[in-house]
Symmetry: C2
Subunit: 471 residues, 2 copies
């Protein structure tokens, strides 16, 4: 928090005293302007410069969120929804100050539908909280979207999060059935629903999934659940070079061997996780796999995957079927981002994330690795390659602006490569503050449509202003 405090100190904007008075009347001590709380809501898990909101509020229900937003609208005060602050494109940075709505007290699991495999939760429920609840209640169900961090389900919805299991279960896009959102005028809208399909009017639920708080505050989400698989098997396999590893992925995906996770870590990243997590993996481009299903179908698929990795020079296909061994393996993968940062003590990670059609994944990664050779920065590469999605983390010294500039330049080049190959400027990190220009490059005329929708639903531009689309 020290870094954040350094760059974003200051008192709350005194011009905002009237709205704060009203918020305090509404919320009592769940309306906070003390610097410690504001600091804790100033920045996310990324390099983006923190900025303190003027106040942080902790509503407990839809009605309170509605009243907060109405007050903010009346006083033209920016509203920034906050889940756990674990995203990486600056989406929750209060660039224009205003009121941060921390949804952590809206943390009730409202219902679980055993026969329907669905659940409705308040936005502040984290994915681990939901999964603990489902396990303790012996439902045999779980929520499979897994971005690594124990993010809130509202935040995951707002950022269209995905993560390592998306190749098997889809992203938040595929797993949100409905949601409740508080619009810029304080109206409470229920979008989507519990039916598995509907052709009733515009698909508002999917408009709000991924809007990053710029169209409204998501307060409740109805999610699809999955059955805990009968059998799970994991495996790790090292390759002589990155091209072999990625070509194995392309072949595995196109031959249709169902996988729940298929992750690539390059040799730089493998060195980092060995050091960070005490593993002894070969320092080489490596694929991590996970297979879910019945005992027989998992065995069938593991058996089918082996020869494919062999053909591409994969060595040492290490299986991990025990829960403990698997947990350790995946923890290493989740720690990749943190592990990478220990390669350069004191550094912060400038992370970028693109996604391309799987057929172009080798081209895009090889071009990126080639480009990285010209950088002076350490920059591990890893990703959810089954979806064509990968990340590069540039380890930069936060006190050297030239390093940030260099990372930005490389980030822009990687986005260019992805767009040339029919891909997208971000697979799962979102636009936030960091990719406004990239969104323009990717969607051009589409950004005009996004702006028109933003203006129609938030005419005062109070909802997380400055993010996703500039208006």
């Amino acid at each position: 928090m020290t870094d954040k405090a350094r760059t974003a100190k200051g008192s709350s904007d005194p011009n905002r005293a009237p709205v704060f008075g009203e918020l305090r009347s509404l919320l009592g001590d769940r309306m906070r302007t003390d610097e410690g709380i504001r600091e804790a809501h100033a920045g996310d898990a990324s390099y983006h410069k923190p900025r303190l909101p003027d106040a942080v509020v902790f509503p407990a229900c839809n009605d309170e969120v509605s009243k907060i937003v109405k007050l903010c609208a009346r006083y033209r005060t920016p509203v920034v929804p906050f889940g756990t602050g674990t995203a990486v494109e600056g989406g929750i940075v209060a660039v224009q100050g205003g009121v941060c709505i921390d949804l952590s007290r809206m943390n009730r699991i409202l219902r679980v539908g055993m026969a329907d495999l669905d659940a409705t939760v308040e936005a502040g429920v984290t994915r681990k909280q939901l999964n603990r609840h489902l396990a303790e209640a012996g439902t045999g169900l779980y929520f499979p979207v897994d971005p690594g961090a124990d993010a809130s389900l509202g935040g995951m919805t707002a950022t269209r999060a995905s993560g390592s299991a998306a190749v098997g279960y889809g992203t938040m896009r595929e797993n949100v059935l409905g949601l409740t959102v508080i619009l810029a005028d304080g109206s409470i809208v229920h979008a989507g629903g519990r039916a598995r399909k509907s052709s009733a009017g515009y698909d508002l639920a999917h408009l709000f999934v991924g809007c990053e708080g710029t169209l409204g505050v998501i307060t409740e989400v109805t999610l699809k659940l999955a059955r805990v698989p009968e059998a799970v098997s994991a495996a790790v396999c090292a390759f002589p070079d990155i091209s072999s590893a990625v070509n194995a992925v392309i072949e595995l995906m196109s031959t249709g061997i169902e996988m729940t996770r298929i992750e690539l870590l390059d040799e730089v990243q493998m060195g980092a996780i060995n050091a960070y997590s005490g593993f002894d993996y070969k320092v080489a481009p490596t694929l991590f796999f996970e297979f879910h299903g019945s005992e027989s179908s998992v065995a069938e698929r593991v058996a089918a995957a082996g020869p494919v990795t062999d053909r591409h020079g994969g060595e040492d296909f290490r299986k991990a079927t025990g829960q403990k061994e698997r947990d350790r393996l995946w923890q290493a993968r989740y720690d990749a981002y943190y592990a990478s940062q220990t390669m350069r003590p004191g550094s912060v990670g400038f992370v970028t994330d693109v996604c391309v059609p799987v057929s172009r994944l080798a081209d895009c990664i090889l071009k990126t690795k080639e480009e990285l050779k010209t950088s002076t920065l350490i920059a591990p590469l890893f990703g959810h390659v089954g979806d064509g999605n990968f990340h590069v983390v540039f380890l930069i010294d936060p006190n050297r602006p030239e390093e940030l500039a260099e990372a930005r330049k490389f980030g822009e080049r990687i986005v260019e490569f992805a767009l040339e190959m029919g891909g997208t400027c971000t697979g799962e990190h979102g636009i936030g503050l960091g990719k406004l220009a990239a969104l323009e490059q990717e969607h051009g005329e589409g950004v005009r449509v996004m702006q028109a929708i933003k203006k129609a639903l938030d005419p005062l531009n109070i909802m997380n202003p400055g993010k996703v689309v500039k208006v």
Copy 2:
């Protein structure tokens, strides 16, 4: 066409002569105002009263569609996109006259991505055309969304179509990766893309999927493809009563036996298809199943399904593994709507469609069947019950308005039942002209949001006016 001609005759609106002159300059003989062509574009496959458009145009590319829409905007002329006219909520009826854009000449398959399992097609390509192409090219791939009719893929996208295979493969919502749409100002927008996931800004692609032409004309679609399964097995199973059949569905869905299709036909409908297709099925509530997968996984699942249907009194679990036998079986299911109409010669079908969480399916269907007992109309019930989606067809005499009124009243009651049970007023037929009030009942405040979006993107209200949301 005689019925249509009867109810919707007349010359083109003479006030529209200037726009027609310009359209003729642009398109030559691909701009038509003769009555035969206009009649062929006046109505869909439903009871909704046809209305002739003033002109029908046949563009060949995005640029032409853009120019047509720009001309229509300049002359405040309604634009009605037309695929194959096989939908059932009056979505293509030119209620305010104007220009019908028939997309059938935009019928090129633009690309097939073998490794990426995707294809980009023009809007006029029909699903059977795409599947023939994929089969003839030996790709081993196919497009699985199957609404029965050989609809155009643009029309299926615009109506968020689904059909019998949605329980296995999802609806158009899950199978459209990207699209090109011509907006009300003629701008050409590419939404979504080819990457399997993206968090780049608002999910415009999913806003246009299901907009029924009211936000723009969809001209190209990028679709996910599926692998032709190694093995397919189908089965038919009769039940002593509808409640047993539906409870079998609920148990099958909640125990997670993967199925590609699971269809219910009630005893009224079974009688109709026996008569129509020459089958000798028992005249009882019946489930039709289909399983896709590897030989072993299909066998495993068929074996698991049998005991569940047995437990619910299912009898005579008839397997059909041969392609020909399966085709005949599914043809009977597809013919359900047409078969039902032969039960009362000269009748037209007033069809309604709701979808509820699967756990409430028995409640909703039983309540509906109970209600139907009080109707004098013949009204078979069938549906895609794995998704919780079912249809009722009221066979009405088109010359007796009291029958239409009765069907409407029952239709409204069924929607009420579905909404009470957490369902939606339409699972797959859309809003069109027929369910504007039901959409209001279901989404209330959400309809205000839809209207705001409609006004923002189509300020002159020229895009398929009068459908989905009134502005």
